[in-house]
Amino acid sequence: MKVRATAPHSSLSALFSSLAMARLVVFFLVHPGGRFHLRELQRRTRLSSASLQKELGRMCAVGALQREREGERTVYAADEDNGCWHAWMLLMRAGADPVDVVREALVDVPGLDLAFVFGSVARGEPLPDSDLDLFLVGPPEERRRAMGLLVDADVFLPRRLDVIGRDREELTAEAESGFLRRVMDQPKRWVVGGPGPDRQRSAA
């Protein structure tokens, strides 16, 4: 699904020239060493073709990405020696809302049913050293895939991650447990799914 809608409240919009660029930066950072062709990038980042090509062009122009021919296809790979990657990671650590960064990191996990942040960050009263409490709902293999991406995102997140996960059956079975009831009764910030339109996957 290609999405053109905007996500005006993402803190990443203020840090990058577009949310699409932020999404690509995060995508390459959570797939270190990855080499991707255009259609694969389009499918996995859910960016429109126009946005994707524009931002890939920008990132190649500054040398952050290398564009190579592989047979009939053009592939893109991060040049980690380029100083932009270091600068972008510092920028996100310094100025991004960690919930926005997690949302972008999980764009490539379409099989997650739900993901939300709870705890002090969601209540809007975090202490400087509060963790980011993330709850993932989905099949075990999708949660594992999410964790694999979050491990790499953890380096440039402004807060340390603390992740809990369940599949739908476990969630139902534990619905009456004290812990789950406390979590469900608390304020949440939705990363994947949640009430309202599916706006969490969108980028310019």
């Binding site: 990671m89 650590r93 694999g148 380096v155 992740v163 447990s177 812990f179």
Partner: protein
């Protein structure tokens, strides 16, 4: 320098540390001992924790050898992230897998008692063995004086 390693240093998650060869060897010895302990037919949940601890000690020994140490808070994450930063190939892959297991440890800490799934048990055993094997080689490259001192890790 790997950009992740630079970010960890900039954010003081990783600190420069001039460890002596003796300090590196002592941490490696501790990791080996812990690894041996994990293979003594322990209850799975205990074995998981002990094997994970051996991996953590291995990552710290590797960082010592490379001139770093993990900062106190979040030192588990900092140790594995640092090992990913100084390593490549199999070493970085094993450290990433172990950091992923660290991130998922809380899944079993709340609500119903889920125990340690077999696949997680297998993952911690395999990744710890790979990390030890690869870190041992790398430590000897960084600290050639330890070639005759550091015992090789047990076979995976």
């Amino acid at each position: 320098m790997n950009p992740r390693l630079r970010v960890l240093l900039d954010s003081r998650s990783l600190l420069e540390h001039s460890a002596t060869d003796a300090e590196v060897a002592a941490m490696w010895e501790k990791a080996l001992q812990t690894m041996e302990n994990s293979r003594r037919g322990l209850d799975p949940s205990i074995e998981f924790t002990v094997a994970y601890t051996a991996a953590l000690q291995t990552a710290i020994a590797l960082l010592y050898a490379c001139g770093y140490r993990p900062a106190g808070r979040d030192h588990h994450h900092n140790a594995f992230a640092g090992a990913i930063g100084v390593g490549e190939g199999e070493l970085a892959r094993a450290a990433r897998e172990l950091d992923q297991l660290r991130l998922g440890r809380h899944e079993a800490s709340y609500g119903a008692a889920l125990g340690v799934p077999d696949e997680q048990m297998q993952a911690v055993r395999e990744s710890t063995a790979v990390l030890m094997r690869e870190a041992w080689s790398r430590i000897l490259v960084e600290r050639p004086a330890l070639t005759t001192v550091l015992a090789a890790p047990p076979p995976g």
